[in-house]
């Protein structure tokens, strides 16, 4: 069946058709349209089916990439989706949001001479195809083990852990603080990058598997972890509460009206659907001149949402250069196309008010790259005398998040590190407290969807082992705090 062989000149990658930049900058509909079956087959045919596929090693959950691509070549799309689902429960999400360019695609052999196989696009295609054509089939219910597990937080970490646990026959309850399940997938990542119906379908699937999803349940307040493990009879619990606390710039004027944390701006827009105000009740300031601070996915999302809310000008202010931006390359590219202005090597100094409590400008300073810092990136240092002002009416710091202490501070015996993250074993998610596992951003700090999902899966496996052996090893955890 091999249609292409190493040595043969690779054809160009099949581009995914997208909404025109100028049109899409005014709506919240998804940017790429997805492949047609023909396009998918054509792109799949570029894959060399390497005997020693390096792409697979770049995938944090080791999806059998050549096999699923081979199934696409053969037109067996639904089987291709199932092949992926052996390792990744949510390909429709990951195909859209994974940073493929630094994972699987970065290692694809074709990348040495031309463009690597569009693995992410293909993953997305088969997941969408399966959803639209086969429904998402629920496997037969396994025999009950009589064990109960509480999963706290319904982001990708919690969802994937809950899905695996229920398939092992345990009774699983998923607690979510907000009124909707999905974590960052519903409150953070915007509709035009990840349509909410996709996340809803995933959550719905987990419900159909038998997971009891309880929203509006802020653990630490409504129930404590100890209460879950004692009074409520849970045999284990998995904490995947994310890193939800916003970090502000810490410069003067930051509490003026019109200044939003990226979390607030995106939560209003995505979770509360403020872009549909007044159809939906939650308001949001539609800035004319907007400044976003940061260079990650969160900053890109905030900038592109501001644009879609009708801004005339959106500046992305970042203190390093574009090469250092941690955002997905595809989104940086999309942001450029849509007309977001990149103001690089620039740092804000203070916000200036209009005399009525609203923001009217931000004073910035130019930076230049100095010596490499701890992360190996060259450290930006201010250029003396280069201060300047930009007039703005909305400002959005998107410079990172920290762990929310609401839950962790109410769990006696749970070891945290200096920055407030839970200390847990990477392989198992085991924490210092017997019966309590943790994974995702609450361990690692802001990372990625696929890493959180991987942690959820490993923890589900470790919970099964724990039930079998009742073994708790915290020795490894010492010293990591």
């Amino acid at each position: 069946m091999e249609e292409k062989r190493a040595g043969k000149k690779p054809e160009n990658r099949v581009k995914m058709r997208e909404q025109e930049p100028l049109a899409r900058a005014k709506n919240f509909m998804e940017v790429p349209y997805g492949y047609t079956p023909e396009e998918a087959k054509k792109e799949a045919s570029r894959c060399l089916s390497c005997l020693k596929p390096s792409c697979r090693g770049g995938c944090p959950v080791s999806i059998d990439i050549p096999s699923f691509i081979k199934l696409i070549k053969e037109g067996r799309f639904i089987e291709a989706a199932w092949k992926i689902k052996e390792d990744n429960a949510m390909p429709a999400v990951c195909g859209r949001v994974c940073p493929q360019e630094i994972q699987c695609e970065s290692l694809c052999i074709l990348g040495k001479k031309g463009k690597p196989v569009a693995i992410g696009n293909l993953e997305r295609f088969v997941a969408d195809y399966e959803r639209d054509n086969a429904g998402m089939e629920v496997p037969e219910k396994p025999k009950s083990t009589g064990r109960k597990v509480a999963v706290i937080g319904s982001g990708p970490g919690g969802l994937s852990c809950a899905a695996d646990l229920i398939k092992s026959g345990h009774q699983v309850t998923l607690f979510e603080a907000l009124h909707k399940a999905g974590g960052v997938l519903v409150y953070g990542i915007p509709e035009f990058r990840l349509p909410k119906v996709i996340v809803e379908k995933e959550v719905d699937y987990i419900r159909r598997l038998g997971v009891d999803v309880i929203v509006n349940a802020l653990i630490g307040k409504l129930f404590t972890v100890d209460e879950l493990l004692t009074e409520q009879g849970y045999d284990a619990c998995f904490i995947a509460t994310g890193a939800g606390l916003p970090v502000f710039l810490g410069i003067p004027g930051e509490n003026l009206n019109g200044i939003y944390s990226a979390n607030e701006f995106l939560t209003r827009a995505n979770l509360m659907k403020a872009y549909l105000f007044p159809e939906y009740d939650t308001p949001i300031k539609r800035g004319r001149n907007v400044a976003v601070f940061g260079g990650g996915n969160v900053a890109m999302d905030a900038a592109r949402v501001a644009l879609r809310l009708g801004a005339e000008k959106v500046c992305l202010i970042y203190r390093r250069s574009e090469a250092e931006m941690p955002a997905r390359k595809a989104e940086i590219h999309h942001a450029h196309e849509e007309g977001i202005e990149f103001m690089l090597l620039t740092n804000p100094l203070r916000f200036i008010d209009d005399g009525k409590g609203n923001i009217s400008a931000v004073e910035c300073i130019k930076m230049e790259l100095g010596e490499p810092d701890a992360s190996g990136r060259r450290k930006p240092v201010p250029v003396k005398g280069s201060e300047f002002r930009i007039e703005i009416d909305v400002a959005i710091p998107a410079i990172g998040t920290r762990p929310n202490p609401l839950l962790t501070r109410h769990v006696p015996g749970l070891l945290l590190n200096k920055r407030g993250y839970i200390v847990a074993d990477y392989e198992t998610g085991m924490t210092s407290k017997p019966g309590v596992f943790a994974g995702g951003d609450i361990i690692t700090g802001s990372a990625t969807v696929i890493l959180a999902m991987g942690a959820g899966r490993r923890a589900a496996k470790a919970i099964n082992d724990y039930f079998r052996w009742k073994y708790w090893d915290t020795a490894k955890l010492q010293g990591s705090g």
Binding site: N257, M272, K356, G357
Partner: protein, 278 residues
């Protein structure tokens, strides 16, 4: 879904709901609040847990019709349900036997003052309460407040009931005459809390206020609720809502409360049109 078991119209503007919420009731303490979202398109708004009944599994809240969401809420009746409710939120009041304390409740703030006054009384404090409103019509829970206070002072702006005064007038007199007042609790409109603090500053009396900043998630995730206390930024939903009033920047609080004034007007007008008045 959370079912409304009892509705009471305390005045034209102020409504009481007793709502079925077993788990929240079990954990509620004086000073806690909750967030509700009436329906799918609704916004999340915070309201104080003004009372709770662990046996019946209910919480009581008292709200004033301000804009669209509270007006809409006011149209719900016994038997109707609220789609989403999260709680108990915020750090509950710190209660101990301080000695002599004053509880000041202004307008709809009378409701959240009640459970605190009750808890302080139960802890052995001598409780003097001051409740005030614009006019007689807006005074409610007089008997409930009287039952948990050693002394109850009522004021109205227009003098239609009790003394014709604002709450700071009797407060100032009390502080002057009673050097042994250890603590003042004040809950009401920001402007009232601000002037209460001006008054207590004069007498160097410790003052706790409950800040009603605009909130979204109310779990510490967004920072919409940020306030400045002693020059530091705090999140009212998780660090509060109660703070040392004399350190609060009330002007910032009031300015931030007005952030969506235009949007609120649009929402209200649209709502009135759709619901045909009211």
């Amino acid at each position: 879904m959370f079912k409304i078991l009892k509705k009471e119209e305390l005045s034209d503007l102020v409504i009481l709901f007793e709502i079925e919420a077993k788990d929240i009731a079990k954990k509620a303490r004086a000073g806690n609040f909750f967030v509700l979202k009436i329906h799918e398109q609704g916004e999340r708004i915070p309201l104080t847990i003004a009372d709770f009944d662990r046996d019946r599994g209910t919480i009581t809240t008292v709200f004033q019709k301000m804009g669209k969401t509270t007006h809409h809420l006011g149209t719900l009746n016994e038997g109707d349900s609220i789609l989403d409710m999260t709680g108990p939120l915020g750090i509950h009041s710190h209660i101990e036997n301080f000695g002599k304390v004053v509880c000041v409740g202004g307008g709809v703030g009378i409701a959240p003052t009640f459970p605190i006054a009750r808890a302080l009384k139960e802890a052995g404090n001598a409780v003097i309460s001051i409740i005030g409103a614009r006019t007689k019509e807006l005074i409610f829970w007089e008997d409930k407040m009287r039952a948990v206070s050693d002394e109850l002072i009522i004021v109205t702006d227009d003098g239609s009931y009790g003394q014709k005064a604002v709450v700071t007038t009797p407060l100032d007199a009390l502080l002057r005459e009673n050097q042994d007042i250890k603590l003042v609790y004040a809950i009401g409109p920001a402007i009232m809390m601000k002037f209460v603090c001006v008054t207590t500053e004069k007498h160097n009396a410790k003052t706790i206020v409950s800040l009603n900043s605009i909130m979204v998630d109310a779990t510490g995730m967004c920072g919409a609720c940020r306030v400045e206390v002693g020059g530091e930024t705090k999140f009212a939903c998780v660090d509060g809502p109660e703070f040392d009033g004399r350190k609060v920047d009330f002007n910032l609080l009031m300015s931030r409360q007005r952030m969506y004034i235009e949007e609120e007007r649009v929402a209200m007008e649209r709502y009135k049109e759709k619901s045909g008045g009211n």
